[in-house]
């Protein structure tokens, strides 16, 4: 029975890990065949010819400079650092490196042991992927909760405003009905007129709410586009509006032909909302200009009123639900859904709304939509 054990040189060369000795600048001065076989590069092409960092990917080389070098300098040793080591054939092999800086009689060296870590690498990647998935799930959950809180708050505010806004016309109606029993015949007509106006206001509010719900919960507002004459539709809508706002001057400018495809009732609703908005926030005594045109492939309606310019940050949120101007008088206030519905009508026609406001030209709301196949 022999008790002979392998010589040190043999142990070094065939150790079950890659062994590398480098100068402090990384130049390889000694390595073993285990490493050479792993990376497919013969010893004579490494020793004196390559530096440790030359074996890494570019990202690994940066990491070597920013983490490995300073740590080794400061701590004298490093453990379990993972690098992707480049094989001669171009693929990379994940390796775990341990290193120790040693002062020997021959000088100072970094002594490094390397272990292939394919399985650990796969496992770590799975762990990290799982962590990333968990993080993104958490983020999604957080967003969903946020959205839910927003919705709940919105609903509460909405109930509050609707109750408030419905109370006004309803109490006017009740008061009118009580009056009807007491007043003489000739005043009844006037009281009835007020009652009707208030009832209509309440009805408009309910319709807006229904439209809003449809737009927000459903798939947008329903429209039934048919070939129409844009100018005629605007003219008819303005005629009705002049009756509703007897003191208001509304001018209409029609430009060119008016043939286009749209839902006439929805356009009338849009014009009604924009004009009542202009009447509420425009400078009193100034007219509202309504402009209609079909040019090329697009149709447009512009409603303009004069008055104080609206700040840019307000303009940006103009078409969002529950946004309301500061100077609304009581008779025209609504839940602030009017402009939201205006934009929904525009979008249902494949178009959109824009708004601009300057001191000189006042505030202009512009609807533009494809004129369609007429």
């Amino acid at each position: 029975m022999s008790h002979a054990i392998p010589g040190l040189a043999e142990l070094f060369d065939e150790a079950p890990c890659g062994l590398i000795v480098t100068r402090l600048d990384g130049t390889i001065v000694k390595t073993n065949s285990t490493l050479c076989v792993w990376i497919g590069i013969p010893e004579h092409e490494l020793v004196g010819a390559k530096r440790l960092q030359d074996l890494f990917t570019v990202g690994g080389r940066i990491f070597h400079q920013t983490h490995w070098v300073p740590s080794l300098q400061m701590q004298g040793s490093l453990a379990e650092v993972k690098f992707d080591v480049r094989h001669r054939d171009g693929r990379t092999i994940p390796m775990i490196l341990n290193a120790r800086r040693r002062k020997r009689p021959e000088g100072e060296f970094d002594e490094i042991a390397a272990f292939v870590a394919e399985d650990r690498n796969r496992y770590e990647r799975e762990l990290m992927d799982a962590r990333r998935r968990a993080d993104s799930l958490l983020e999604a959950e957080r967003k969903a909760q946020h959205l839910m809180r927003d919705r709940a708050l919105f609903a509460e505010q909405m109930v509050g405003i609707v109750s408030h806004d419905l109370r006004n016309p309803l109490s006017a109606i009740l008061m009118g009905v009580q009056l009807l029993g007491r007043v003489e015949a000739e005043r009844r007509a006037r009281v009835l007129g007020h009652v009707q106006q208030s009832a209509e206001r309440a009805q408009r509010l309910i319709e807006e709410l229904l439209d809003f719900t449809q737009a927000r919960v459903g798939k947008g507002l329903a429209v039934q586009p048919v070939p129409i004459d844009l100018h005629g539709v605007v003219h008819d809508a303005l005629t009705e509006l002049r009756l509703a706002y007897p003191g208001l001057k509304i001018d209409h400018h029609a430009e060119g032909a008016g043939a286009c495809v749209a839902d006439a009732d929805r356009l009338a609703q849009l014009i009604g909302n924009l004009v009542s908005n202009g009447a509420a926030y425009g400078r009193s005594g100034t007219p509202i200009d309504v402009h209609s045109a079909v040019a090329g492939d697009s149709a447009e309606i512009v409603v303009r009123n004069l008055g104080e310019p609206i700040a840019q940050e307000v303009l940006e949120h103009m078409f969002e639900p529950m946004v309301r101007g500061e100077t609304g008088s009581n008779t025209v206030r609504s839940v602030g859904l009017g402009l939201f519905i205006v934009r929904e009508i525009a979008r249902a026609h494949g178009g959109d709304m824009t708004v601009g406001s300057t001191a000189q030209d006042g505030t202009s709301f512009r609807l533009r939509f494809p004129a369609g196949d007429r």
Binding site: I62, Q73, Q75, G76, S77, K103
Partner: protein, 268 residues
């Protein structure tokens, strides 16, 4: 906000001017151990950790504030206001050299001069400009950072490897050196390597010393020359050194270069 605690500020020495040392990506103020103390006999020497690194207050890390060099530059100005006395020379390594530039433009007059060690205003090649890297290289760095996430976050290097013969650091500091929250490291890597400070650099009028290693993968010689050409009041000193950290691997020559530069500024 306690700036002292947030940035783990350390002050040594005293003198007619203050030297503020800011470390680069990857490590912390202990990087200056071989260089900064050499000035403490004649200057006030300040070292600090960038938020997220070393022993800085991790609670102060805000991913929005530190999404660009701006947040770090604001911190730096606050550090100088907290402890600076007399003219202040900002010594920035790597990304911190650019943090110094951004801070200088934000608060003109804060710095009397800059010492930039291994600076680069832009790491990614762009047309005629050679930064040294392609975008994919930075992605592979992020990959390497990620793959060292587990080991790095839990590593107990000195314990496993035995006590080194001449440790530059005591055990308590080794525990935090080069180790940081992986998410912070990732974001800081992005900010460091994807920032483009060339336009800012072109506006700098403060005197500057550029210490360029003769061989540096991260800030190659052409980048040092580019900066020198761009800055009207700059001095370029090439230090015989392989690597990105001449203050660690060639502290002597780095020290001499800075001394000569400080002499030319005539503070005393």
């Amino acid at each position: 906000m306690n700036v002292q605690k947030r940035n783990n500020i350390h002050v040594q020495g005293a003198g007619p001017a203050t030297l503020v040392f800011a470390h680069g990506f990857g490590c912390d103020q202990n990087m200056w151990r071989l260089l900064a103390p050499r000035f403490a006999d004649r200057y006030k020497v300040v070292t600090f950790d960038l938020v997220g690194a070393g022993q800085s207050d991790r609670q102060a890390y805000d991913s929005a504030r530190y999404a660009s060099l701006q947040g770090y530059a604001e911190d730096t100005i606050e550090v100088v206001r907290e402890v600076g006395a007399g003219p202040v020379v900002f010594v920035g390594h790597s990304v911190s050299a650019m943090i110094g530039v951004v801070a200088d433009l934000k608060a003109p007059g804060t710095f009397a001069a800059h010492v930039m060690i291994g600076p680069s205003p832009c790491y990614i090649n762009d047309g005629d400009y050679v930064g040294g890297f392609a975008r994919e290289d930075i992605d592979s760095l992020l990959d390497t950072l990620d793959s060292n996430y587990l080991g790095w976050a839990s590593s107990m290097a000195p314990a496993i490897m035995g006590v080194p013969e001449r440790p530059e650091l005591g055990e308590e500091l080794t525990a935090s050196f080069c180790r940081t929250d992986p998410d912070i490291a990732r974001q800081f890597a992005r900010v460091t390597f994807l920032s483009d400070s060339r336009a800012d650099l072109a506006r700098l009028r403060t005197p500057a010393l550029i210490i360029q290693s003769s061989e540096d993968l991260i800030a190659p010689l052409v980048v040092g020359e580019y900066i020198h050409k761009l800055l009207p009041r700059s001095t370029l000193r090439i230090v015989d050194n392989v690597g990105h950290c001449p203050h660690l691997s060639a502290p002597g020559p780095s020290h001499e270069a800075i001394e000569a530069f400080l002499g030319s500024l005539q503070f005393a």
